[in-house]
Symmetry: C2
Subunit: 234 residues, 2 copies
Protein backbone atom coordinates (compact mmCIF):
# COMPACT_ATOMS: atom_id res chain seq x y z
CA UNK A 1 0.00 0.00 0.00
CA UNK A 2 1.53 3.27 -1.09
CA UNK A 3 0.91 6.54 0.73
CA UNK A 4 -1.34 9.40 -0.38
CA UNK A 5 0.03 12.68 -1.71
CA UNK A 6 -1.86 15.67 -0.26
CA UNK A 7 -1.67 19.05 -1.98
CA UNK A 8 -2.54 21.50 0.79
CA UNK A 9 -3.58 25.09 0.19
CA UNK A 10 -2.28 27.35 3.00
CA UNK A 11 -3.65 30.69 1.84
CA UNK A 12 -1.40 33.62 0.93
CA UNK A 13 0.48 34.32 4.16
CA UNK A 14 -1.47 34.71 7.42
CA UNK A 15 -1.36 31.31 9.22
CA UNK A 16 -4.95 31.90 10.42
CA UNK A 17 -6.12 31.74 6.80
CA UNK A 18 -5.38 28.04 6.45
CA UNK A 19 -8.47 25.82 6.40
CA UNK A 20 -9.43 23.37 9.13
CA UNK A 21 -8.76 20.51 6.69
CA UNK A 22 -5.21 21.67 5.86
CA UNK A 23 -4.58 22.18 9.58
CA UNK A 24 -5.83 18.64 10.36
CA UNK A 25 -3.74 17.01 7.63
CA UNK A 26 -0.60 18.97 8.61
CA UNK A 27 -1.01 18.13 12.28
CA UNK A 28 -1.19 14.38 11.50
CA UNK A 29 1.33 14.26 8.65
CA UNK A 30 4.27 11.82 8.91
CA UNK A 31 6.09 13.65 6.07
CA UNK A 32 5.77 17.31 5.06
CA UNK A 33 7.28 18.56 1.79
CA UNK A 34 7.62 22.15 0.58
CA UNK A 35 9.44 24.19 -2.05
CA UNK A 36 12.56 25.93 -0.79
CA UNK A 37 14.46 28.80 -2.40
CA UNK A 38 18.25 28.86 -2.81
CA UNK A 39 18.65 30.78 0.49
CA UNK A 40 16.92 27.95 2.38
CA UNK A 41 13.85 30.08 2.97
CA UNK A 42 10.37 28.63 2.49
CA UNK A 43 7.36 30.92 2.75
CA UNK A 44 5.04 27.88 2.77
CA UNK A 45 6.92 26.29 5.68
CA UNK A 46 6.79 29.57 7.62
CA UNK A 47 2.98 29.62 7.36
CA UNK A 48 2.62 25.96 8.40
CA UNK A 49 5.20 25.96 11.20
CA UNK A 50 2.75 26.57 14.09
CA UNK A 51 0.80 23.44 13.10
CA UNK A 52 3.58 20.96 12.27
CA UNK A 53 4.12 17.94 14.58
CA UNK A 54 7.43 17.90 16.48
CA UNK A 55 8.50 14.54 15.06
CA UNK A 56 7.52 15.20 11.44
CA UNK A 57 9.93 14.26 8.68
CA UNK A 58 10.59 17.34 6.53
CA UNK A 59 11.36 17.24 2.80
CA UNK A 60 12.58 20.65 1.61
CA UNK A 61 12.57 20.55 -2.19
CA UNK A 62 14.77 22.83 -4.28
CA UNK A 63 12.50 24.48 -6.85
CA UNK A 64 14.25 27.31 -8.72
CA UNK A 65 12.19 30.38 -9.62
CA UNK A 66 13.04 32.38 -12.71
CA UNK A 67 15.42 29.69 -13.97
CA UNK A 68 15.26 28.42 -17.54
CA UNK A 69 12.40 26.02 -18.32
CA UNK A 70 14.61 22.94 -18.64
CA UNK A 71 16.20 23.46 -15.20
CA UNK A 72 12.75 23.93 -13.66
CA UNK A 73 11.45 20.70 -15.22
CA UNK A 74 14.53 18.82 -13.98
CA UNK A 75 14.03 20.22 -10.47
CA UNK A 76 10.42 18.95 -10.49
CA UNK A 77 11.60 15.54 -11.73
CA UNK A 78 13.98 15.36 -8.74
CA UNK A 79 11.30 16.60 -6.32
CA UNK A 80 8.81 14.01 -7.64
CA UNK A 81 11.41 11.24 -7.18
CA UNK A 82 12.08 12.29 -3.57
CA UNK A 83 8.34 12.34 -2.78
CA UNK A 84 7.64 9.03 -4.54
CA UNK A 85 10.29 7.29 -2.42
CA UNK A 86 8.32 8.26 0.70
CA UNK A 87 4.98 7.28 -0.84
CA UNK A 88 6.48 3.89 -1.75
CA UNK A 89 7.32 3.40 1.95
CA UNK A 90 3.57 3.71 2.58
CA UNK A 91 3.88 7.15 4.15
CA UNK A 92 1.43 9.94 3.35
CA UNK A 93 3.16 13.12 2.16
CA UNK A 94 1.64 16.58 2.70
CA UNK A 95 2.92 19.09 0.14
CA UNK A 96 2.54 22.70 1.31
CA UNK A 97 1.26 25.23 -1.24
CA UNK A 98 0.90 29.00 -0.97
CA UNK A 99 -2.63 30.14 -1.78
CA UNK A 100 -4.56 27.44 -3.61
CA UNK A 101 -2.72 24.33 -4.93
CA UNK A 102 -4.39 24.31 -8.36
CA UNK A 103 -4.37 28.06 -9.04
CA UNK A 104 -0.88 29.02 -10.24
CA UNK A 105 0.66 26.74 -7.62
CA UNK A 106 3.82 24.69 -7.62
CA UNK A 107 1.68 21.62 -6.97
CA UNK A 108 0.43 21.24 -10.55
CA UNK A 109 3.77 20.09 -11.92
CA UNK A 110 4.17 17.55 -9.11
CA UNK A 111 0.63 16.21 -9.47
CA UNK A 112 1.18 15.78 -13.22
CA UNK A 113 4.18 13.58 -12.49
CA UNK A 114 2.73 11.56 -9.59
CA UNK A 115 -1.05 11.25 -10.08
CA UNK A 116 -0.77 8.24 -12.39
CA UNK A 117 1.06 6.18 -9.77
CA UNK A 118 -0.25 7.35 -6.38
CA UNK A 119 -3.51 8.56 -4.84
CA UNK A 120 -3.55 12.37 -4.82
CA UNK A 121 -5.93 14.53 -2.78
CA UNK A 122 -6.14 18.31 -3.02
CA UNK A 123 -7.35 20.66 -0.27
CA UNK A 124 -8.18 24.06 -1.74
CA UNK A 125 -6.97 27.28 -0.13
CA UNK A 126 -7.70 31.01 -0.02
CA UNK A 127 -6.21 32.72 -3.07
CA UNK A 128 -4.18 35.93 -2.87
CA UNK A 129 -6.66 38.13 -4.82
CA UNK A 130 -9.46 37.34 -2.35
CA UNK A 131 -7.20 37.98 0.64
CA UNK A 132 -5.93 41.21 -0.94
CA UNK A 133 -9.50 42.48 -1.43
CA UNK A 134 -10.25 41.64 2.22
CA UNK A 135 -7.13 43.55 3.26
CA UNK A 136 -8.27 46.59 1.25
CA UNK A 137 -11.85 46.12 2.47
CA UNK A 138 -13.47 46.58 -0.91
CA UNK A 139 -15.77 44.30 -2.94
CA UNK A 140 -13.74 42.55 -5.63
CA UNK A 141 -16.61 41.52 -7.93
CA UNK A 142 -20.38 41.28 -7.65
CA UNK A 143 -23.47 40.82 -9.76
CA UNK A 144 -22.68 40.37 -13.46
CA UNK A 145 -19.06 41.56 -13.16
CA UNK A 146 -16.37 39.25 -14.57
CA UNK A 147 -13.29 38.75 -12.39
CA UNK A 148 -9.98 37.94 -14.09
CA UNK A 149 -6.75 36.59 -12.62
CA UNK A 150 -4.07 37.70 -15.07
CA UNK A 151 -0.40 36.67 -14.69
CA UNK A 152 1.87 39.67 -15.25
CA UNK A 153 4.11 37.27 -17.18
CA UNK A 154 1.55 37.03 -20.03
CA UNK A 155 2.30 38.18 -23.54
CA UNK A 156 1.97 41.99 -23.35
CA UNK A 157 -0.52 42.28 -26.17
CA UNK A 158 -2.75 39.59 -24.68
CA UNK A 159 -2.47 41.16 -21.21
CA UNK A 160 -3.59 44.50 -22.64
CA UNK A 161 -6.47 42.82 -24.50
CA UNK A 162 -7.65 41.11 -21.31
CA UNK A 163 -7.65 44.45 -19.44
CA UNK A 164 -9.83 46.17 -22.05
CA UNK A 165 -13.28 45.23 -20.70
CA UNK A 166 -13.88 48.07 -18.25
CA UNK A 167 -16.70 46.17 -16.58
CA UNK A 168 -14.29 43.45 -15.42
CA UNK A 169 -12.44 43.36 -12.10
CA UNK A 170 -8.76 42.50 -12.50
CA UNK A 171 -6.27 40.80 -10.20
CA UNK A 172 -2.88 40.93 -11.91
CA UNK A 173 -0.73 38.37 -10.12
CA UNK A 174 3.01 37.63 -10.21
CA UNK A 175 3.49 41.39 -10.44
CA UNK A 176 6.66 41.62 -8.31
CA UNK A 177 9.45 43.03 -10.46
CA UNK A 178 6.97 43.60 -13.31
CA UNK A 179 5.09 46.73 -12.23
CA UNK A 180 6.26 48.81 -15.21
CA UNK A 181 4.99 46.15 -17.60
CA UNK A 182 1.64 45.97 -15.78
CA UNK A 183 1.36 49.76 -15.73
CA UNK A 184 2.01 49.95 -19.48
CA UNK A 185 -0.71 47.39 -20.23
CA UNK A 186 -3.20 49.19 -17.96
CA UNK A 187 -2.32 52.56 -19.54
CA UNK A 188 -2.99 51.17 -23.02
CA UNK A 189 -6.32 49.83 -21.76
CA UNK A 190 -7.16 53.17 -20.11
CA UNK A 191 -7.32 51.58 -16.64
CA UNK A 192 -4.16 52.67 -14.80
CA UNK A 193 -5.92 55.33 -12.71
CA UNK A 194 -7.42 53.30 -9.87
CA UNK A 195 -5.00 50.38 -9.69
CA UNK A 196 -3.75 49.37 -6.22
CA UNK A 197 -0.65 47.32 -5.44
CA UNK A 198 -0.75 44.88 -2.53
CA UNK A 199 2.75 43.77 -1.51
CA UNK A 200 3.80 40.88 0.74
CA UNK A 201 0.23 40.08 1.70
CA UNK A 202 -0.06 38.77 5.26
CA UNK A 203 3.64 39.21 5.90
CA UNK A 204 5.44 41.65 8.19
CA UNK A 205 6.22 43.92 5.20
CA UNK A 206 2.63 44.03 3.92
CA UNK A 207 1.80 47.28 2.14
CA UNK A 208 -1.07 48.66 0.04
CA UNK A 209 -0.42 51.63 -2.24
CA UNK A 210 -1.52 53.15 -5.55
CA UNK A 211 0.26 51.64 -8.56
CA UNK A 212 1.61 55.07 -9.58
CA UNK A 213 3.22 55.54 -6.19
CA UNK A 214 4.62 52.00 -6.19
CA UNK A 215 6.28 52.64 -9.55
CA UNK A 216 8.27 55.57 -8.20
CA UNK A 217 8.85 54.40 -4.65
CA UNK A 218 9.34 50.73 -4.14
CA UNK A 219 12.19 48.42 -4.92
CA UNK A 220 10.29 46.71 -7.71
CA UNK A 221 12.59 43.74 -8.12
CA UNK A 222 12.65 42.79 -4.44
CA UNK A 223 8.88 42.57 -3.91
CA UNK A 224 8.20 39.10 -5.22
CA UNK A 225 4.72 38.67 -3.75
CA UNK A 226 2.91 41.60 -5.28
CA UNK A 227 -0.41 41.78 -7.03
CA UNK A 228 -2.32 44.61 -8.63
CA UNK A 229 -6.07 45.05 -8.13
CA UNK A 230 -8.17 47.04 -10.59
CA UNK A 231 -11.85 47.59 -9.85
CA UNK A 232 -14.51 47.62 -12.55
CA UNK A 233 -15.90 50.91 -13.80
CA UNK A 234 -19.65 51.30 -13.22
CA UNK B 1 -18.35 51.96 21.59
CA UNK B 2 -20.15 50.23 18.74
CA UNK B 3 -19.47 46.61 17.80
CA UNK B 4 -17.50 45.39 14.79
CA UNK B 5 -19.15 43.82 11.74
CA UNK B 6 -17.25 40.73 10.57
CA UNK B 7 -17.77 39.39 7.05
CA UNK B 8 -16.71 35.75 7.31
CA UNK B 9 -15.90 33.56 4.31
CA UNK B 10 -16.97 29.96 4.99
CA UNK B 11 -15.89 28.33 1.73
CA UNK B 12 -18.36 26.73 -0.66
CA UNK B 13 -19.89 23.92 1.41
CA UNK B 14 -17.60 21.52 3.30
CA UNK B 15 -17.36 22.81 6.93
CA UNK B 16 -13.69 21.70 7.01
CA UNK B 17 -12.92 24.32 4.35
CA UNK B 18 -13.53 27.25 6.68
CA UNK B 19 -10.40 29.05 7.80
CA UNK B 20 -9.02 29.05 11.32
CA UNK B 21 -9.83 32.77 11.57
CA UNK B 22 -13.49 32.32 10.58
CA UNK B 23 -13.72 29.41 13.00
CA UNK B 24 -12.24 31.50 15.83
CA UNK B 25 -14.54 34.47 15.19
CA UNK B 26 -17.64 32.24 14.92
CA UNK B 27 -16.78 30.38 18.12
CA UNK B 28 -16.52 33.67 20.07
CA UNK B 29 -19.35 35.59 18.38
CA UNK B 30 -22.12 37.06 20.53
CA UNK B 31 -24.33 37.57 17.44
CA UNK B 32 -24.30 35.58 14.18
CA UNK B 33 -26.22 36.82 11.13
CA UNK B 34 -26.83 34.99 7.86
CA UNK B 35 -29.03 35.19 4.77
CA UNK B 36 -32.06 32.92 4.86
CA UNK B 37 -34.24 31.82 1.94
CA UNK B 38 -38.05 31.90 2.00
CA UNK B 39 -38.17 28.24 3.14
CA UNK B 40 -36.14 29.12 6.25
CA UNK B 41 -33.11 27.27 4.89
CA UNK B 42 -29.64 28.82 5.17
CA UNK B 43 -26.73 27.08 3.46
CA UNK B 44 -24.29 29.40 5.28
CA UNK B 45 -25.75 28.50 8.69
CA UNK B 46 -25.55 24.78 7.86
CA UNK B 47 -21.81 25.09 7.20
CA UNK B 48 -21.17 27.09 10.39
CA UNK B 49 -23.43 25.09 12.72
CA UNK B 50 -20.69 22.79 14.13
CA UNK B 51 -18.74 25.84 15.31
CA UNK B 52 -21.47 28.11 16.71
CA UNK B 53 -21.62 28.75 20.48
CA UNK B 54 -24.70 27.35 22.26
CA UNK B 55 -25.76 30.71 23.64
CA UNK B 56 -25.22 32.73 20.45
CA UNK B 57 -27.89 35.18 19.33
CA UNK B 58 -28.93 34.36 15.77
CA UNK B 59 -30.08 36.92 13.21
CA UNK B 60 -31.60 35.17 10.18
CA UNK B 61 -31.99 37.82 7.47
CA UNK B 62 -34.52 37.45 4.66
CA UNK B 63 -32.62 38.09 1.41
CA UNK B 64 -34.67 37.20 -1.67
CA UNK B 65 -32.87 35.63 -4.64
CA UNK B 66 -34.12 36.24 -8.16
CA UNK B 67 -36.51 38.97 -6.97
CA UNK B 68 -36.69 42.33 -8.70
CA UNK B 69 -33.85 44.74 -7.99
CA UNK B 70 -35.94 47.12 -5.87
CA UNK B 71 -37.16 44.33 -3.55
CA UNK B 72 -33.58 43.10 -3.14
CA UNK B 73 -32.34 46.59 -2.23
CA UNK B 74 -35.17 47.00 0.29
CA UNK B 75 -34.35 43.61 1.84
CA UNK B 76 -30.72 44.70 2.28
CA UNK B 77 -31.88 48.00 3.82
CA UNK B 78 -33.90 46.01 6.37
CA UNK B 79 -31.01 43.58 7.00
CA UNK B 80 -28.59 46.48 7.53
CA UNK B 81 -30.99 48.09 10.02
CA UNK B 82 -31.29 44.84 12.02
CA UNK B 83 -27.49 44.44 12.13
CA UNK B 84 -26.85 48.08 13.03
CA UNK B 85 -29.17 47.82 16.03
CA UNK B 86 -26.92 45.06 17.43
CA UNK B 87 -23.73 46.98 16.60
CA UNK B 88 -25.17 50.03 18.40
CA UNK B 89 -25.57 47.86 21.52
CA UNK B 90 -21.79 47.35 21.35
CA UNK B 91 -22.05 43.75 20.19
CA UNK B 92 -19.85 42.33 17.45
CA UNK B 93 -21.84 40.74 14.64
CA UNK B 94 -20.43 37.89 12.50
CA UNK B 95 -22.10 37.72 9.09
CA UNK B 96 -21.75 34.30 7.45
CA UNK B 97 -20.87 34.24 3.74
CA UNK B 98 -20.65 31.30 1.34
CA UNK B 99 -17.30 31.15 -0.41
CA UNK B 100 -15.47 34.47 -0.14
CA UNK B 101 -17.30 37.57 1.23
CA UNK B 102 -16.02 39.99 -1.45
CA UNK B 103 -16.28 37.69 -4.49
CA UNK B 104 -19.94 37.64 -5.61
CA UNK B 105 -21.05 37.46 -1.99
CA UNK B 106 -24.10 38.84 -0.22
CA UNK B 107 -21.76 40.74 2.07
CA UNK B 108 -20.91 43.50 -0.42
CA UNK B 109 -24.33 45.12 -0.28
CA UNK B 110 -24.29 45.07 3.55
CA UNK B 111 -20.77 46.46 3.79
CA UNK B 112 -21.70 49.28 1.42
CA UNK B 113 -24.51 50.28 3.78
CA UNK B 114 -22.66 49.86 7.09
CA UNK B 115 -18.94 50.58 6.52
CA UNK B 116 -19.34 54.35 6.90
CA UNK B 117 -20.77 54.00 10.41
CA UNK B 118 -19.14 50.91 11.94
CA UNK B 119 -15.80 49.12 11.88
CA UNK B 120 -15.92 46.30 9.29
CA UNK B 121 -13.42 43.44 9.05
CA UNK B 122 -13.41 40.84 6.29
CA UNK B 123 -12.01 37.31 6.56
CA UNK B 124 -11.51 35.84 3.08
CA UNK B 125 -12.66 32.33 2.22
CA UNK B 126 -12.10 29.55 -0.30
CA UNK B 127 -14.00 30.30 -3.52
CA UNK B 128 -16.13 27.72 -5.31
CA UNK B 129 -13.99 27.54 -8.50
CA UNK B 130 -10.89 26.57 -6.49
CA UNK B 131 -12.82 23.96 -4.49
CA UNK B 132 -14.40 22.62 -7.68
CA UNK B 133 -10.98 22.18 -9.30
CA UNK B 134 -9.76 20.35 -6.17
CA UNK B 135 -12.84 18.10 -6.34
CA UNK B 136 -12.08 17.29 -10.00
CA UNK B 137 -8.35 16.97 -9.20
CA UNK B 138 -7.16 18.99 -12.14
CA UNK B 139 -5.00 22.13 -12.34
CA UNK B 140 -7.23 25.16 -12.90
CA UNK B 141 -4.60 27.60 -14.19
CA UNK B 142 -0.82 27.74 -14.24
CA UNK B 143 2.03 29.64 -15.80
CA UNK B 144 0.85 32.44 -18.10
CA UNK B 145 -2.77 31.23 -18.29
CA UNK B 146 -5.50 33.76 -17.44
CA UNK B 147 -8.29 32.51 -15.16
CA UNK B 148 -11.73 34.11 -15.48
CA UNK B 149 -14.71 33.97 -13.13
CA UNK B 150 -17.70 34.70 -15.37
CA UNK B 151 -21.24 35.03 -13.96
CA UNK B 152 -23.69 33.09 -16.16
CA UNK B 153 -26.04 36.06 -15.70
CA UNK B 154 -23.80 38.29 -17.87
CA UNK B 155 -24.98 39.79 -21.13
CA UNK B 156 -24.80 36.88 -23.61
CA UNK B 157 -22.67 38.69 -26.14
CA UNK B 158 -20.17 39.74 -23.49
CA UNK B 159 -20.13 36.24 -22.00
CA UNK B 160 -19.33 34.80 -25.43
CA UNK B 161 -16.61 37.42 -25.96
CA UNK B 162 -14.99 36.58 -22.61
CA UNK B 163 -14.93 32.85 -23.52
CA UNK B 164 -13.12 33.44 -26.83
CA UNK B 165 -9.52 33.38 -25.60
CA UNK B 166 -8.78 29.65 -25.81
CA UNK B 167 -5.69 30.05 -23.62
CA UNK B 168 -7.83 31.16 -20.66
CA UNK B 169 -9.29 28.88 -17.98
CA UNK B 170 -12.96 29.64 -17.27
CA UNK B 171 -15.10 29.21 -14.16
CA UNK B 172 -18.67 30.12 -15.11
CA UNK B 173 -20.48 30.71 -11.84
CA UNK B 174 -24.19 31.14 -10.99
CA UNK B 175 -24.84 28.49 -13.65
CA UNK B 176 -27.77 26.74 -11.89
CA UNK B 177 -30.83 27.06 -14.10
CA UNK B 178 -28.72 28.66 -16.82
CA UNK B 179 -26.86 25.72 -18.38
CA UNK B 180 -28.45 26.17 -21.82
CA UNK B 181 -27.35 29.80 -21.93
CA UNK B 182 -23.81 28.84 -20.85
CA UNK B 183 -23.69 26.04 -23.41
CA UNK B 184 -24.79 28.41 -26.19
CA UNK B 185 -22.04 30.91 -25.30
CA UNK B 186 -19.39 28.17 -25.15
CA UNK B 187 -20.58 26.72 -28.49
CA UNK B 188 -20.26 30.14 -30.15
CA UNK B 189 -16.75 30.42 -28.70
CA UNK B 190 -15.88 26.88 -29.86
CA UNK B 191 -15.26 25.72 -26.28
CA UNK B 192 -18.23 23.53 -25.31
CA UNK B 193 -16.37 20.22 -25.79
CA UNK B 194 -14.48 19.86 -22.54
CA UNK B 195 -16.72 21.76 -20.15
CA UNK B 196 -17.53 20.11 -16.81
CA UNK B 197 -20.42 20.94 -14.49
CA UNK B 198 -19.89 20.78 -10.73
CA UNK B 199 -23.20 20.75 -8.86
CA UNK B 200 -23.88 21.29 -5.14
CA UNK B 201 -20.18 21.40 -4.29
CA UNK B 202 -19.41 19.95 -0.86
CA UNK B 203 -23.05 19.03 -0.28
CA UNK B 204 -24.68 15.60 -0.06
CA UNK B 205 -25.90 15.91 -3.69
CA UNK B 206 -22.48 16.87 -5.10
CA UNK B 207 -22.00 15.74 -8.68
CA UNK B 208 -19.46 16.28 -11.47
CA UNK B 209 -20.49 15.61 -15.07
CA UNK B 210 -19.84 16.79 -18.62
CA UNK B 211 -21.88 19.86 -19.59
CA UNK B 212 -23.46 17.97 -22.49
CA UNK B 213 -24.70 15.25 -20.17
CA UNK B 214 -25.96 17.79 -17.61
CA UNK B 215 -28.01 19.52 -20.31
CA UNK B 216 -29.95 16.35 -21.09
CA UNK B 217 -30.06 14.78 -17.64
CA UNK B 218 -30.32 17.12 -14.74
CA UNK B 219 -33.13 19.20 -13.41
CA UNK B 220 -31.50 22.44 -14.50
CA UNK B 221 -33.70 24.79 -12.53
CA UNK B 222 -33.30 22.99 -9.21
CA UNK B 223 -29.51 22.98 -9.08
CA UNK B 224 -28.82 26.45 -7.77
CA UNK B 225 -25.18 25.93 -6.79
CA UNK B 226 -23.70 24.87 -10.10
CA UNK B 227 -20.60 26.08 -11.87
CA UNK B 228 -19.01 25.17 -15.16
CA UNK B 229 -15.26 24.69 -15.52
CA UNK B 230 -13.54 24.98 -18.91
CA UNK B 231 -9.82 24.25 -19.15
CA UNK B 232 -7.48 26.16 -21.44
CA UNK B 233 -6.40 24.65 -24.71
CA UNK B 234 -2.64 24.13 -25.01
Amino acid sequence: MSGTLHGLGLGPGDPELITLRSWRIISLAPVIAYPEGPSGHSRARTIATPFMPDDVEELPLAIPFGANAQDVEMAYDRAAAIISAKLDEGKDVAFLCLGDPLTYGTFGKLATRLAQHYPVRVTPGVSAPQAAAARVGRVLAQGDTPLKFLPATMDEEMLTAECMNRHAALAIIKAGGRLSRVHAALLRAGRAENALVVEELGGADERVLPLKKALTESDDAARYFSLVLVWPQP
